[in-house]
């Protein structure tokens, strides 16, 4: 049985960035993912904001990882063809109390070396965002806070790891494991694997995996649900900048922003729950989000809703990341990474590689592999439909071509389920939600997914 240097449990945002980092450093990487595709858990639903870290606790590991992750994303995105929708963000104070709190927000940004922030008065706010509702008293502009495609980067990272020889197993839940002499023996639902070091990136199951293999966990996951509403693309012309509320102790609050895919998004809610898998939307919460969005941007009144979704964030008893190495057990846990994880993932991976080196391991780094550029899904950049020979448009709302669908079902990491196909192409994610394309997609994906779109029929 081959022996991997590291087994990474979980192919969420953090796991994918981890696999890339360790593969680039020359380690032999094994990725074990319970789901049928990457980003199957907490990472599949977020607000897609590339954070500067301006509001992170100064001096915290989270703040360091967010800023390192931001910098590395900007450095590699050109080669990988990953988009940035340059929006900037405004922390908007709508009340006197919020206005009083802006000084603190600005001080924190400067303490975090985000020095390009500046205050906007009501007239400047209006000039920048003419559709914004009445009553914005003052704002803090954070120019480098941007929006990205929240899924393609992680596929790109995992493709890089794979190109460097990583073994990536989907549908591989780690059921048990134990230390044997110099390595871990892991029993997975796809067979036994061996690795020198285990890195637990299991997200919503981080504490479960720790307890299952170590017998204990330093933290307890307390899933926090965030619901979102996506408005029709017609709304995108109403807003340029990400609109953030003045944060409170518990949450960053409800955000209004464009998406890289040309929509406008409002969310998230922040709701504690026990269940780690069930990310259900709730009509009352969605209506409240829509009402809040209309307050902030009155022109959204009557704007059709394209999609609604809910995500679960792996919160713990404490606010910060729960990253710890256990040298005597050759184990590193990466837990409690919540909404900033999408930005911080590359930074977290670098930090964890440092911890790994301190466990006494080292490898010879390799060059970044030549990977084909990622298919662009962002609306502000050329999409596949604009290049002839695409075989026709399958999903009309999102203009997804047959060639894009076929490419997402082929290659080194083909979509493992319908959610994976949607995240790779945007098919069925538009305003009609599959009224026109679902049946065609059932045909194009026949025999591909363990959970097929079409069910077997009986002769009538």
């Amino acid at each position: 049985m081959p022996l991997a240097d590291v087994a990474i449990i979980g192919a969420g945002a953090v796991g994918c960035a981890m696999a890339r980092r360790f593969a680039l450093e020359g380690a032999k990487v094994l990725v074990l993912e319970r789901g049928a595709d990457l980003l199957s858990g907490a990472s599949k639903a977020n607000s897609a904001i590339l954070h500067t870290g301006f509001d992170a606790p100064p001096g915290s590991l989270e703040q360091a990882c967010v800023q390192a992750g931001y910098a590395e994303y900007m450095a590699i995105r050109g080669r990988l063809n990953l988009p940035v929708l340059e929006t900037g963000a405004m922390v908007v104070a709508w009340t006197e109390a919020e206005q009083a709190a802006l000084d603190g927000v600005e001080a924190q940004a400067r303490a975090n070396s985000v020095d390009d922030v500046r205050r906007l008065g009501p007239a400047e706010i209006r000039a920048r965002e003419p559709h914004l509702g009445e009553g914005a008293r003052e704002a803090l502009l954070v120019p480098r806070e941007h929006v990205i495609d929240p899924w393609s980067p992680f596929l790109a990272y995992l493709l890089q790891a794979k190109a460097l020889g990583a073994e990536i197993l989907f549908g591989a839940e780690v059921a048990a494991g134990r230390r044997e002499e110099e390595h871990w023996r892991l029993e997975t639902s796809r067979g036994r694997r061996r690795a020198r070091v285990v890195i637990n990136c299991a997200g919503l199951y981080g504490d479960v995996v720790d307890r299952r293999l170590l017998g204990e966990s330093a933290f307890e996951i307390r899933p926090r649900k965030g619901q979102f509403v996506v408005f029709d693309k017609a709304a995108a012309s109403l807003l340029r900048t990400i609109v953030l509320p003045v944060p409170t102790e518990r949450t960053k609050g409800v955000v209004l922003c464009r998406t890289a895919f040309g929509n406008v998004l409002v969310g998230p809610t922040a709701e504690e729950q026990q269940d780690r898998d069930r990310a259900a939307t709730d009509e009352a919460a969605l209506k409240a989000l829509i009402a809040r969005a209309v307050e902030m941007l009155p022109a959204l009144e009557g704007m059709p809703v394209t999609a609604t979704y809910a995500g679960l964030r792996p919160a713990t008893e404490e606010k910060g990341y729960r990253i710890a190495a256990m040298p005597d057990r050759s184990w590193i846990t990466v837990g409690g990474v919540r909404s900033t994880g999408m930005t911080a993932a590359l930074g977290i991976a670098r930090h964890v590689y440092g911890l790994y080196e301190r466990l006494g391991h080292s490898h010879a780094a390799v060059a970044e592999p030549e990977c084909p550029p990622m298919p662009n899904l962002a609306e502000h950049l050329p999409r596949d439909w604009s290049a002839a020979g695409h075989g026709g448009v399958v999903c009309h709302c999102e203009l997804v071509t047959k060639r894009e669908i076929e490419q997402a079902l082929a290659g080194p990491l083909p979509a493992g389920d319908f959610g994976g196909l949607r995240r790779r192409t945007r098919c069925a994610m538009g305003r009609c939600q599959g009224f026109h394309c679902l049946a065609r997609l059932a045909v194009l994906t026949e025999g591909r997914f363990a959970a097929p779109l079409a069910t077997p029929t009986e002769a009538p």
């Binding site: 394209t306 002839a388 009309h396 203009l399 009609c432 679902l438 059932a442």
Partner: protein, 328 residues
């Protein structure tokens, strides 16, 4: 989008080759409009009737009873005979103004093309309101779809999206879905209607009884659960009670809404309540060069009604091209 050169100039460009668009285009030719081009994003002309495997279609237009697909074919043939040009499998991606003319950018397998037109008629039809836009609570498993998608599964591809669906709504299209389910051996577990009574001609509600589908009036879906496929739905009843129904799909029927995304993208003034552009008595929008054959002014209409609506708009549009329509 301004890269490609204009490759064709027409008097009238019609977007949508459903009954309204084809009726409109055919009539424009009859009214003497020199060049009429219809674009549609589907590979076959005909619109929604293409996947309505059931009669009756065509009484008004052809004086006989046809199935949806046969009706769709005939409408397209008649348009082509009248001299209408068709570009299928072609998506409209932008509508711009260039002086007097409108320039419409399209995308197809042959690349991006630009069409200049003196007048534009939007006949983009309707679709059902999907689950997301209804804000229905719950998870997002496989098996949640609309009747239009079900019809495409069954009539276009011979496939089944579920075996035991819950049917939401009692418009006529909900009843047609019961028949469509029979074609694939699917057995709906129940039909639910939020209101106290049916949303179609009440005697039609004999159909669910005949095929043994329990009906729940005054009930709404308050949860959908399952992963990866629907496992159950929870209903809230008018008396305050709730019940769970085991099913492997949830079919959202009806609540048709105009497919008005192009009107929005073109910046036309919208009628928010009706979800379509504001139109004058001649079907002109806030840009008087853009007409719309909106078919949802009452409730959802039959194909025949859409067809005659298209013809009525064509008369106004032809008059406008001839300079005989009152200014807006």
């Amino acid at each position: 989008m301004s890269g490609a050169a204009v490759d064709v100039e027409v008097e009238a460009l019609v977007v949508g080759a459903g009954p309204a668009g084809l009726g409109l285009a055919t009539r424009l030719k009859a009214r003497g409009v020199a060049s009429v081009l219809v674009v549609d994003r589907e590979a076959d002309a005909g619109g929604n009737p293409r996947h309505c495997g059931h009669p009756p279609f065509g009484l008004r237009e052809f004086g006989r009873v046809l199935t949806g697909p046969a009706y769709a074919r005939r409408l397209a043939e008649r348009a082509v005979r009248a001299g209408v040009a068709l570009r299928l499998a072609t998506n409209v991606v932008a509508i711009e103004r260039a002086g007097e003319a409108l320039v419409v950018t399209t995308a197809g397998d042959d690349g991006v093309r630009r069409i200049a037109a003196r007048r534009l008629a939007l006949a983009t039809g309707v679709r059902e309101t999907p689950r997301a836009a209804r804000l229905v609570s719950g998870e997002r498993p496989l098996g949640v779809l609309t009747t239009g998608a079900l019809q495409a599964f069954v009539y276009l591809h011979g496939k089944a999206p579920f075996r035991y669906p819950l049917v939401v709504g009692t418009e006529l299209v909900a009843l047609s879905s019961l028949l469509t389910c029979r074609r694939i051996g699917a057995a709906p577990v129940a039909m639910v209607e939020e209101r106290a009574g049916p949303q179609c001609f009440p005697p039609f509600m004999a159909l669910p009884r005949l095929v043994g589908v329990p009906l729940h009036y005054g009930a709404r879906v308050v949860d959908i659960a399952g992963s990866p496929r629907v496992r159950r739905a929870t209903l809230a009843h008018a008396d305050g009670s709730s019940s769970e129904i085991a099913c492997d799909g949830v079919l959202f029927t009806g609540r048709f809404t105009p497919e008005a995304s192009l009107a929005r993208a073109a910046g036309l003034t919208m009628d928010l309540a009706r979800g379509r552009p504001v139109l004058d008595a001649f079907g002109r929008s806030s840009d008087p060069r853009i007409f719309a054959a909106c078919v949802l002014d009452r409730s959802v209409e039959t194909a025949g009604w859409c067809w005659s609506r298209g013809r009525a708009i064509a008369d106004h549009l032809a008059a406008d091209l001839a300079g005989r329509l009152p200014p807006p």
